[in-house]
Amino acid sequence: MSAPERPLEGLRVLDFSHIWAGPICARILGDLGADVIKIEGPGRYDGMRNLFLMANDTDDDYWNRSGFFQNRNQNKRGVAVDLTTEEGRELIRGLVPHADVVVENFTPRVMPAFGLGYDRLAELNPGIVMISMSGYGATGPYSRFGAIGLSLDGSTGLSASNGHPGDRPEKSGSAFLDPFGGVSGAAAVMAALLERERTSRGQFIDLSQHEGGINFVGGYVVEHGRSGREPERRGSRSDRLAPQGIYPCDGDEEWIYLSVRDEAGWRALCEELGAPALAEEPGFGSAAERLARHDALDERLAERTRLREKRELMAALQRRGVIAGALLDGAEVLNDPHLAARDTFESIDVGTPPRPYPSQRALPARFDDFAPRPAGPAPRLGEHNGEVFGGLLGLDESDLARLAADGVIGTEPRFAIPVDEQRDIIRYPLAMWVGLGSVRWLAPDGSHGLAPGEPQPAEAQPTDAQPESAGS
């Protein structure tokens, strides 16, 4: 046997998951060399196929052109099987003996309802490792509750701990509990596979995304148990360092984060801002004093930071040993020179016609001895039906044709509504969003190195009342 190129080569993963946490878990396993087969249905595909399509173009086979779907589903093969049919379920059960891992993130009732619960899978393959990545876990009174990362900010204690002082709780600007669940899920699978080497047995892994989120506030939970103290919402400040926060810079919506660790840093900050006397001013002589007068301190600092360009100030403070980070928007992150030097984004061509897309790494670590699989387009719906069912189950062309004719497998979605209505529903009203202020157009000259949006009349509004269905 030839030497492996990657750690999980030779392993096979059946990926029933959708949205974010489950798919990114399976993508990581694929990037590390496993053969990942994503299982969708013609009538129930991963809903991410509908979100953020290249150039907002909903024509043709738009369901193969979603940015979100690309990020989470590369290095997978894809089949589309109707699990509501007995024949479809039988096809999948046929794959189980060929697999090492099953990934799913439905609520706990779904897989058993398809006859694909862990007990059944283990009968078919005692070595199978199954990870269930539901919102609230496989047991407990909330186990039937649906959840995604965006809703879990609330139930994990994170939202309650975030917000401006005295103000309402806030969620984060990114649903980071989803990738947290995905990465910890991939780790759990690899741990279970190592255990299988010792015991020769597979196992069921119960991953509750809710419990994962509570780990972020684990220190607060100990603190509450000891002192009864509830964490206060303190904006961007520290409870022990001062100054720390987010300060305005020159320009509209330009900001910098900075944090002073010690007295040398405090003096360096004041000098860089052209206010060395501030460092000596009574009442600001220690972190404790500065913490007590943080509002007044912030006003004084903001007077100075707003005169500076954010990246220039960041570099100047870093040279003086002060922790500082410019607040970058999404386009600026994609074009950050440091990330570019580290090949954080790989350009791939997506869809028909092919459009360039800056694919994001699923594995941020750099390994000296092996490299994850390079980026490539995620599978089109049902792209590998023939390859998978022919290769693993021995079905021939006529079998596959009959299954397709019967609707058991497919490569085209089955929508509950006419496809043209569906296309209208998922085309985003970008001009309306710009008018609301939730987004702004990318620089029209393409200076970000990205495809600029198509500015539309600001007064553009939806014109038809359309049924609410995502068809997936």
């Binding site: 039937r144 609330g154 939202s159 401006h164 969620k171 970058l328 928007d329 999404g330 994609l334 000296d368």
Partner: protein, 398 residues
């Protein structure tokens, strides 16, 4: 596993290995007690057992050695050679260079997995400008998050952006470190070789921020700060109710949303008839919903909403978590004891069949230094004697 330093990223990664049953040795520098002493006196900070330190370092062993000095680095190398996994920061000053001279490559060839967590990556030809070897930039979790794009879009547009606390980027780094080491252990199982892994907190934070990056990359718009909302539809917001707050994601199930608030006729209201109208007219819809939610009890709304399969969750306070019925049913917070009394410990993010709770408290500073370094010396002596004996036997055989 050897964990050098007690910053959140390394410590949380170590904690996840504890949950797998590993023996984790925490290496601290003498007198460096910032994490031990963080927080209020009554939280344990006064005696070097702060709440966060206790949580992150539960069931580890503690060794104190000064890895800012050559003798300390040499001791660390001896410890690492007997470990499977080493997670460490860049070493202070010239110690990184000294470290490289201690044949760590040999240890890696023999199976050691070494993972270095740094703010912006290790220096090197492709390291990037923030990892300049002449003066690498520093970052904490806040700076890494800022440069990853998340605070830019967090909070109320009329107010300054918000950092998400506590230390999101450090937790992201920790779980990426944990996963990456497990990948490297699979690699070792296949090849017999260890690995060196370079993990930057900035890269880890960026990997957790797909949402803000997809918009410019696909549809040519840049996401702005817009409350606690997704931008594709409304309602997706935090609402105040009679006894607390709720996260409400109802934009994709407005039929069920209208049933929840007892207003099914809203489906026929031209202002709210479809997702885009509801988004365009969010202030009117917000006012209508806010006036309903403020009259309701939080947990009753959650129960009713989930019956309707609406994604609504309570904004749970930290103090509620330990006694929350769901958390209790799953033993999501268990109660242990240390020198200060009861410790409420959060369960790991996943449950393997072999998982068992660990009862040993977080170590006192240097609690196991003599025991562990003594054991290292004993093992080295035994190995040397064994090698010598084998050499003698080989000589006799010849």
């Amino acid at each position: 596993m050897v964990q050098v330093g007690d910053d959140t990223a390394a410590a949380f990664a170590g904690r996840l290995f504890v949950e797998l049953g590993c023996r984790v040795i925490l290496v601290e520098r003498p007198g460096e007690r910032a994490e031990r002493e963080a927080g209020s006196p009554e939280s344990g900070a006064e005696v070097g057992r702060s709440s966060t330190f206790t949580y992150l370092n539960w069931a580890k062993q503690g060794v104190t050695l000064d890895y800012a000095r050559e003798e300390g680095v040499a001791l660390l190398a001896r410890l690492a050679r007997r470990a499977d996994v080493l997670i460490r920061p860049p070493l202070p000053g010239a110690m990184d260079e000294h470290w490289r001279g201690l044949d760590i490559d040999g240890a890696r060839e023999a199976g050691l997995v070494e993972l270095v967590i740094s703010p912006f990556g290790e220096p090197g030809p492709d390291a990037g400008p923030y990892a300049d070897p002449d003066g690498p930039w520093q970052a904490d979790a806040g700076a890494a998050l800022a440069l990853a794009g998340i605070p830019y879009t967090t909070g109320d547009p009329a107010k300054p952006p918000l950092l998400t606390q506590p230390e999101v980027a450090a937790h992201a780094t920790a779980v990426e470190a944990f996963m990456s080491v497990l990948a490297a252990l699979h690699w070792r199982m296949r090849t017999g070789r260890g690995s060196h892994i370079d993990l930057s907190m900035h890269d880890a934070a960026v990997a957790f921020d797909e949402y803000n990056l997809v918009l410019p990359a696909t549809v040519g718009v840049v996401r702005q700060r817009f409350y606690s909302r997704i931008i594709q539809g409304y309602p997706s917001d935090i609402f105040e109710c009679r006894d607390g707050w709720l996260v409400v994601l109802g934009s994709f199930n407005f039929h069920e949303m209208s049933l929840l608030i007892g207003r099914p006729e809203l489906l026929d209201d031209p202002l709210f008839a479809d997702r885009n109208y509801r988004t365009a007219h969010w202030p009117e819809l917000h006012a209508l919903l806010a006036s309903w939610f403020i009259e309701q009890n939080r947990d009753e709304v959650v129960a009713r909403a989930q019956e309707l399969r609406l994604m609504v969750s309570a904004v749970v306070r930290v103090g509620e978590l330990a006694e929350h019925p769901h958390v209790r049913a799953r033993e999501g917070v268990r109660h242990e004891r240390d020198a200060l009394g009861d410790v409420a410990l959060v369960a790991p993010p996943f449950r393997l069949a072999s998982w068992r709770p660990r009862h040993e408290p977080a170590p006192a500073e240097g609690e196991h230094t003599v025991q562990i370094l003594g054991a290292v010396a004993s093992e080295e002596r035994a190995e040397a004697e064994g090698a010598e004996a084998r050499a003698r036997q080989g000589g006799a055989a010849r």
